[in-house]
């Protein structure tokens, strides 16, 4: 028997796992070694969060699966993350803008889930709030430095905002996944988080002498239903190939 909020837990776990994978790509590629550590550490927090959530998911969806089953043995259409987190790594400015958005969303979303009727989910969420607040601070400090920095860094930040724009609306869409969880008394509707998340982001951008996230004619959709962009398949191929080439291998 699957609980009504199992898809929500899957969505939260997949958002965390896929972004952790993208952040891990920065190790050895960031502008300075402290930043390799920082983005790597943030990814590690997200990976840990995903692992805790997959641990809960195995009993919620009634399949008894473990974290490795979810991470390595599902195909693209079974992943429920939003499109923003799967987009390919671009320049550092893009990553800071993406991190600012994702961590701001996580702060608000996890704060709401910290009072969830599912106490184990609430426990994972309330730990995540303090961690995400730290991640958000990191993104904020970089956004200020880059936005209000040199002409080149400012230009890159403007370009980064244009690049993330098509993926922002999806973050606040109330899909069947969230609605079912809210009906079961466990979740939160993303649309109710919009003002808080974008309010924080816009304040940071204004302080960084940047205009807000521009509107976009293109908008991503479908991540929560398992419909992904081209980038997802390549990401999964890299993440999953070792486990699939050597099934059952452990260390």
């Amino acid at each position: 028997m699957s609980e009504a909020h199992a898809p929500l837990v899957a969505a939260l776990a997949d958002d965390a796992l896929i972004y952790a994978q993208r952040l891990g790509e920065w190790i050895s590629r960031a502008p300075q070694i402290e930043e390799d550590m920082a983005l790597g550490n943030i990814g590690l927090d997200l990976l840990g969060r995903a692992r805790s959530l997959y641990g809960l998911l195995g009993s919620l969806d009634g399949t008894g699966r473990g974290e490795d089953d979810y991470a390595y043995w599902r195909d693209e259409r079974e992943f429920r993350h939003v499109h923003l987190v799967e987009q390919p790594r671009h320049d550092f400015g893009f990553e800071i803008v993406r991190l600012l958005l994702v961590s701001s969303l996580d702060v608000e979303r996890c704060a709401a889930l910290a009072s969830s009727a599912d106490v184990e989910l609430a426990g994972v969420a309330s730990k995540a709030v303090t961690e995400s607040r730290y991640h958000r601070d990191h993104a904020r400090l970089w956004a200020l430095r880059l936005g209000d920095g040199t002409d080149e860094s400012h230009r890159r930040m403007v370009a980064a905002l244009e690049r993330v724009a098509p993926y922002v609306a999806e973050l606040f869409e109330d899909t069947a996944v969230e609605v079912a969880a809210v009906d079961a008394g466990v979740g939160v509707l993303p649309s109710t988080l919009r003002a808080g998340v974008l309010g924080f982001v816009e304040d940071v951008l204004a302080e960084a002498t940047l205009e807000g996230v521009p509107s976009s004619r293109r908008r991503s959709r479908g991540g929560r239903e398992g419909l992904h962009s081209e980038a997802c398949g390549y990401l999964l191929a890299e993440m999953q190939h070792l486990a699939r080439s050597h099934p059952g291998a452990t260390w």
Partner: protein, 176 residues
């Protein structure tokens, strides 16, 4: 060889005495992550519940293994369960735990900035929202004249600082 099984209180103590693999002077009891040790004397089994410090802390697996080994050496079969609620915060560190950190020249965590559901702290200027309110004292020379070098340090739970007085870099156990 027949293993002698120690008393319940003794196995509880030995489980709590397992140390953090990254911070070998710090026991998991003093770290505050042991949430329960329930013994079934008839079966010689003990169930240990622990909670993660940071979500991504890779030491949890090593700690779980060390608990099983410590119990086995005491003649007990241990199973380890990871619980998430209520979440661990640095407030769970005992005074002895804080002293153990200082012994390794790691600055113990300061007071936490906010609770999980508290308001977003407001700061003037561009200081980080989550930074400690008070300066972090150098664990070597005690000077408060220190600067933050990197907010993400050698492990998930630490930030890197430098003491302007004695010139040494040091880790701070971040308050969460």
């Amino acid at each position: 060889m027949v293993m002698t099984r120690v008393a319940v209180d003794e196995v509880r103590e030995r489980v709590g005495a397992v140390t953090d693999p990254e911070i070998p002077t710090l026991s998991i009891a003093d770290l505050g992550i042991v949430r329960g040790v329930e013994a079934d004397e008839a079966a010689g089994a003990v169930r240990v519940r622990i909670t993660p410090t940071y979500s991504g802390c890779p030491a949890m697996e090593v700690i779980a293994r060390d608990i099983v080994d410590a119990a086995a050496a005491a003649g007990w079969d241990a199973s380890v369960e990871i619980v998430h609620s209520p979440p661990w915060t640095t407030d769970w560190l005992t005074e002895r735990g804080r002293a153990a950190l200082a012994e390794l020249d790691i600055a113990p965590p300061g007071p936490r900035a906010t609770g999980a559901s508290g308001p977003v702290p407001v700061t003037i200027g561009r200081a980080p929202h989550t930074a400690s309110v008070e300066p972090v004292a150098c664990p070597r020379c005690g000077s408060a004249d220190t600067e933050l070098l990197a907010r993400f340090g050698t492990t998930a739970c630490k930030a890197l600082h430098r003491c302007r007085a004695c010139g040494d870099p040091f880790d701070e156990f971040k308050a969460v």
